[in-house]
């Protein structure tokens, strides 16, 4: 096994074993705070000397969570709540819960009664996020979050702590963007499942450790010869493109993911936190700079324009829209975005993914057909 294979295996191992990661950090005497999707202010957790831990559900069956959530709430929140109730998140000091979609707006209340031993920290982002009033509001909410984190950490979080954290996070964003670029430049070098593991592992790792591993991988990817890739090249878009069966199908059918507009993947790394005198203000401004995500106010559907650009720049043959079942922001976006892709002459297909589903025969058929449409 060469070093790149070792690294890729390590990313996958971490991505598949979050509990082991949590235990490892706790054994080191570190505290961890859960960050439910989307865009939790992880830098504040890190600034307090704690580990932000991403909560994006898991491939499991919601049973207990069904006592709280109707069946038509997405599987990401169903399984996140399920894991909380079952005790999989025991060891987290608290869980941050944003309110960026309607299902999340109810999570705070449900969490407090179903997982009472892990405190919830609500996180409100402004939807009018590009305006000064919006930035001020998001910053005000981050300050409230900061106060809660200080209680948990048992120490004050200074502006210098936050600046340091921002700098570390921006450095990781930079290396992740280099990784993205290499995935586009050298299609086929990484399988879709390997590419996913690099992103997913970031949810369960100390940012410096993750950035270190990605830097090493990026250097190896730079050195690796760009072999001729003969398979279909796609850009993925959606909340998550993480289901093991979906990744297996993409691997088996020989697809290469040359770029993405996936919230769980690149959208967390595209926009740096601007360096401002008040570092929390910079963090709030960053929320206004994120594009391409269905849960953030986007009156001109820049997401569609961005997706068209990504597909063109990366030389993709088509776009795979990965719909998280019952995610209404994504379902709304589908119609105008599909139209924008059609108008640009970019082939696109949507597949629906439910984390609770074990079988994905329909996805396989759809992606086999799509490969044919793309001429492979």
């Amino acid at each position: 096994m060469n070093r790149m294979e070792e690294l890729l295996r390590a990313f996958r191992n971490i991505a598949d074993n979050p509990k082991a990661q949590l235990e490892k950090y706790r054994a080191e005497g570190k505290k961890a705070v859960g960050c439910m999707l989307y865009f939790c202010p992880e830098e504040l957790v890190y600034a307090a000397g704690m580990i932000p831990f991403g909560l994006w559900g898991a491939r499991t069956q919601a049973v207990e969570a069904k006592r709280y959530l109707p069946a038509f709430i997405c599987s990401v929140l169903q399984t996140t709540l399920e894991l909380g109730i079952r005790g999989a998140y025991d060891g987290l000091e608290a869980v941050m819960i944003p309110i960026l979609c309607d299902s999340l707006k109810g999570m705070d209340g449900n969490w407090r009664y179903s997982v009472p031993h892990i405190p919830a920290i609500p996180v409100a982002h402004a939807q009018n996020r590009k305006t000064e009033a919006g930035v001020a509001f998001t910053a005000s909410q981050y300050r409230k979050v900061k106060a809660r984190l200080e209680e948990i950490a048992g120490r004050a979080i200074t502006d210098a702590d936050i600046r340091d954290a921002v700098s570390v996070y921006n450095a990781r964003r930079a290396v992740m963007r280099r990784f993205l670029e290499l995935c586009a430049r050298k299609p086929g070098l990484l399988k879709p499942s390997e590419r996913n593991a690099v992103f997913k592992s970031s949810c369960f790792m100390d940012v410096r450790e993750h950035a270190g591993m990605v830097s090493e991988l990026v250097a190896l990817m730079e050195e690796a010869p760009a072999g001729e890739f003969k398979g279909p090249k796609i850009v993925t878009s959606g909340i998550m493109a993480d289901h093991p069966n979906l990744l297996q199908i993409l691997d088996d059918l020989g697809y290469a993911v040359v770029d993405d507009e996936v919230t769980h993947e690149s959208l967390r790394f595209r926009a740096d936190v601007p360096e401002t005198e008040d570092p929390i203000e910079g963090m709030a401004r960053q929320v206004g700079n994120i594009e391409g995500c269905s849960v953030l106010f986007d009156p001109e559907k820049n997401r569609g324009k961005m997706l068209v650009d990504l597909a063109k720049k990366s030389g993709a043959d088509g776009v795979l829209l990965v719909l998280t079942k019952f995610c209404d922001p994504e379902e709304y976006d589908y119609v105008p975005i599909k139209r924008m892709l059609d108008a640009a002459g970019i082939p696109a297909i949507q597949v629906e993914i439910d984390q609770q589903t074990a079988e994905n025969a329909q996805t396989l058929t759809a992606l086999e057909t799509f490969r044919g449409i793309l001429g492979y």
Partner: protein, 407 residues
Amino acid sequence: MDDHIERKPAKIRLREIAEKATQDAWEAKLRGEKVGWCASNFPQEITTTLGIPVVFPENHAAGVAAKGGGQRMCEYAESMGYSSDLCSYSRISFAYAALKECPELNIPQPDFLLCCNNICNCMIKWYENLAVELDIPLLLIDIPHLDAFPCDEDRIRYIRAQFDDCIRKLEELTGKKWDEERFKEVMAISQRSSRAWLKAVSYAQYTPSPYSGFDIFNNMAVAVVARGTVEAAEAFEQLAEEYEENVKNGISTFKAEEKYRVLFEGIACWANLSYTFKTLKNLGINVTATVYGPAFSFLYDNLDELMAAYSYVPNCNVFERELELRVNDAIRHKVDGAIFHINRSCKHWSGTLYEMERQLREKAGIPTVVFDGDQADPRVFSEAQYLTRIEALVEIMEENKRKGARK
């Protein structure tokens, strides 16, 4: 007294106010004025003060569904690519924006959109899509979900800034000018309407209630969207007077014996309104509590409170406050049970109802049932399930009454 007899009944006046608002918008459109499509819980003080004609897609969708067009319009939107998972009001709205007409009910097409997400973020996505489809401006007043009650100063400041920004943009868009004196007047009228609305609704505390609870679903629309008008204030005051008179005379607009009193949770199933109502009526069940009364009262004494009031609508408040409102209403209005509508269209409202149901049952000491339905898409509603659940509730309420009588 003679004067009272001569007057049109309040419910007719309220219906006429709603119809006139739409008519006014049509006439404004014909005059060449710009007409907006507006979220129902967008601060009406802004549009009323500026005198900007607006119509309400939510009310339109409910009206279309009540007249039998819900399924057809939803299916049309699905043929456009919209998932059947999405809010049925929004599906009807997309279909209407594409078709431009509908045999059940027509409203003028919009020149701009006024969105407010205090009831749900689905509103944002719905209006984003309309803005792109129709290529028209979209203004959003973002009211973040509360994490504590009352609304905090950060939220008030943020809402206030958006309020001011929205006024400025609407002035540019429509050429109309903001008038502070008129604004004060509109606020005063709105308060008068809200107080009258609350008073009218509160008569359900009497036994028997002087009105059928389903009346609230119809009257609420005016309380929400037209309360800044003198006509609405007067009509609500008359409604309260009529209910008071009914209490004195021991009569009710509920035309059956009121054997049981219930809290009804959630939006009405507009496409199945007749069945849902008649099933209750046939079993002698009157709705004497809904969250619509207290939650849509919009009471305030100053500008900050006005901003805060818009975060107290259902779906925007912190869970414990939402629960408190329901428990208080259930106790004050002496309900024997509660019916929870798991509304397929509404992820946020439905997403907390199981816990709400458990806690209400315990805190108010009443039996509860849930049923599956939808605000406008009849395909989701099952008459058999509804009937079975309601009959089960009746059995428990009856048993409780027997036990109570024995004590």
